[in-house]
Every structure is written in C-alpha cells, then in structure tokens.
Amino acid sequence: MKEKTYAIITENLTKKFGDFTAVDSISFDVKRGEIFGFLGANGAGKTTAMKMLCGLLKPTSGMGMVAGYDISKNSEMVKKNIGYMSQRFSLYQDLKVWENFRLFGGIYGLKDGEIASRTDEMLKSLGFFDERDTLVQSLPAGWKQKLAFSVAILHKPSIVFLDEPTGGVDPAARRQFWELIYAAAESGITVFVTTHYMDEAEYCDRVSIMSEGVIAALDSPENLKYKYGCTTVEEVFHKLAGGQL
C-alpha cells in the first residue's frame, strides 16, 4: 500500500565494500511527485546510494523499493521505470538530436510512432525543433543538458534521477534548467536530484544531507533552517557536513 504514496522507500539500506561501509543503514521515503534534493559532501555515499536506487548496484543488506519494484530482487524492472541523467554521461555526441531520442526511446521499448510524436512534442516545447538534425556535439552545453533531461523522461518514467545535472553550468542556464524540473514535477514525475549548489537545495520540497554514509538530516528546507537556526540551507550544510573532511 505504501508504494502508492511513495516513489522511493528504503529501510536500513546498506552497502559495504570490504571493510568500508559506504552507505550505512539509511531509511527514508520520497513521496510521489516530490522534488527531493539528495545532498552531501564528496565521498559521503551519495553516488553509491543512488546506484543502488537505480538498480545498478546490489545492496549488502536492507530493503529498497523504487517505482514500486524491489531494487534487490527486481532491478531490471526498476531500470525500465526510472529516468536517469548525469552531468558525466548524457547524450551521444556523434548522433543527431533526433537520433538520440530515437536510440533511447528504442532502449526503453517505446513504439516507433510513439517515439516520433513524443520527440516532436518535446523538441517543440523546448523551442529546439529546428535543431533536430544537428549533431549533439555542436550544441552549447546548456542545450545539451536540457535535451538530456528530455531524453531521460521520454518514456514517461514515474521517477527521474538527476545526478548533478547543473554541475559547471552558469547561473542563467541553471535557472532555465530548474524550470524544466518544476514542469516535470507538475506533470507528476518524482524528481530525485543531487546538487552542490545550495541555492538549488532551496528549490526542493525536501532535502536530505548525507555525511559519512548516514543521513544526517532530512526535512523541508524551511524546517531544516528553523531546526538548525540558519537562514539558508548552505549554512545548514556547513553545520552538518563541515569539519569532518
């Protein structure tokens, strides 16, 4: 029943690499349609946790449900029902814009007609329709990011994972990118996003802050600031994640 309300449920989710515990028994839920910010210092265990949630890494122990599927027992179904985008890997540079949509649509098992109509629809709403035959490598980085996000939600996943989608992006382009995030959330897609920009943390419905494998805090930005007596999430972050690096 709980799966109806939550896009992500984890209970004591743990990952060990030899003697090192990268993720140490984390338990948290993400509501459907929520914009959830997953914050933490470098090396705190964010990437490991995210890989488990995307079905790419088997947990050592504990339980996780994503998009209604068990991440240990049914990782293939998890992969089919989520979208994923990262700063490091997004689109194929030597394919045209429409070819990238075609490729990823095919991978997610969409029908040809469906891919074509979704591609047109999304490119039109981005104002990129005239660039459909352009090679991705010749596009500015800000455009690539927006296209990569569109490709990640092409198959209408119930949840999309964004791993530092705005890393290295200038202040103007970051704000444009967040408009896409808001639009996706309004259409009902759950957004799970990592970022090192603390102003972006303020735009999330709730944020968690990971530190040394555990979730040190989880609440709405407002409540976190109130609880720790800070005026910004940035200050909360320095309070919780500072000093131990």
């Binding site: 500015p140 202040p171 920009y197 735009y203 320095h238």
Partner: protein, 308 residues
Amino acid sequence: MSADKKPVVAENLSKSFGQVTALQNISFETERGEMFGVIGPDGAGKTTLFRILTTLLVQSSGDAFVDGYDVKGDFRKIREIIGYMPGKFSLYGDLSVEENLNFFASIFKVDPKENYHLIKDIFHQLEPFRNRKAAALSGGMKQKLALSCALIHKPSVLFLDEPTTGVDPVSRREFWQMLDRLKSMGITIIVSTAYMDEALLCDRIALMKNGILLGVDSPAGMVASYKERLLAIKGGDMHSILKALHDIDIVKSAYSFGHEHHAAISPDFTGDAVEKIMLELTSRGFNDALVKNINPSVEDCYMELSAN
C-alpha cells in the same frame, strides 16, 4: 619578446575554428599576485582563452604574453613557469596519489621535497591515501591532488579552469582558502568558475560572452555599476510567486535566488516599489509575501549582464 612583465597580457586576441569565432579581440592585463576570475556562460570562450594562454592552442590573431614570454614563440619557457589545472580531471587514474605527484615533479625536473611547503596544507589531507589510485579518490580529493600536481614546480602563474565543478560546498571553501594562501605567496591565479560566491573572492572579474570580453572590474566595482533598484521577495509558494513577478509590469526582470527571489524594477517606475509589489502580489492572492529593498550581489550583476 614583450618588455612588459605583467603576469598575463592579452592584446586583441582572437581565435576562430572554421566559421566559429571562439574569441574576438580580447585584451586585458593581470597584476602580480592577483586573483583574476573569468566568468561567463558555456561557449563564452573561457576554455579557449585558457588553452591559448597555456600554449596548448595557437591564436588566429593578436598577441598574448605570460611573464613577458610570447605564447607562440616562447611556449617551451611558458610551460616551465605556469601551472594548469584543466576542467576535466587529467591526472593518471591508474597511478597512485604519490606516483602522480612524483611523475609531475620529474617532468618539471624538480624534487618533490623542494617545493613541498607550497602544497603541504593540501597534500597532508591526501597523506592517508598516498597509495590509493587516483581514479578511486572522491571528487574533492581529486581536485586537491590535481592542484598539488599543478603546483609542484612552483609556478609563477596558475591557471585553473573551473577547478571546483562537482565539488561540495565544504571542500570548495577549503579549496579557496588554499588559493588565498598561494596568492599571498605571490602566485598569480587565473581562475574560471560558474559559482558567483567564488567570483566574489577574486580581486577582479572578467565577464565573457560569445567570445567577447564584456568588461573587467572588481566585485565591488561591478556591484556599484548595477543600475536598477532591486527587491527581495519571500513567500509560501515560491514558484508561483516567481511566475507572478514576471507578470507585473514594473518588474524588469525576476530570478530565483535560493530562499528568495530578486526582482529588478523598471527605471520608468519612480514610486514606492516595495509597496507596489506587495499590492500586486496581494491582488494575485499571495498574502504572505515579504518584500524588501536589497543591494545587488555579483550574481545579480551576472544575470543582468548575461540577459542583455
């Protein structure tokens, strides 16, 4: 060779790739021991500029000098006296932390012990991982190692191309504290960044867009040249309030700034902007909105300049 011994001099520097003009008539100078920031959107030409100044790319026209040496003719000499940290992690992933450092020291024919004082503060944090392969380090640690390797030959000018992209706020703060110490040792630092809180820490900032240098100024000078009246707005449903602000005719521009929005007021409106915005928001159903006058930040200036 130029007689000018400024750390970096660019004179009408241009670079084209086929039809694309990446840099157009860029001219500027930096002072000894200056922290010189370069900001601008993707595709502005920042990396192209760095690659020309570090002699990895030859300009199409114009001149550039580093410590008086010509980037074209004296490239060998320049390579000996500069440190460069490219945007992409470019150390050897399958060498250990210590092996990477020793490798870079040997390329520059220096003994790593000789300049250890320069990197001591940074490198001591890496000591516990000295035998770990560089590929297995966390993002923050990789940056620290890359900086150590760029410093091991005691460069006169240090070029850092977006050194803190992907680095968390705590590590970023530490990284900039290190840069400050290097600056106090007399090293000139040219650094590009997408973080405006970092731009604020520079002595001067160059703003680039579409291959053109829009201006060079100190953060204080940049802020002082901001013309519009600026308001900060806070309320319950922030995203809807932003949309509403775009809709109000006396608002020239409105952007989200973390926990609040900033709205620049059109110069045509001369009345009480705080009261007017409060009224407009209330009439649209936002009864809890808080509005106040604020001073612009570097990021406000950036948003204003990049919109024009």
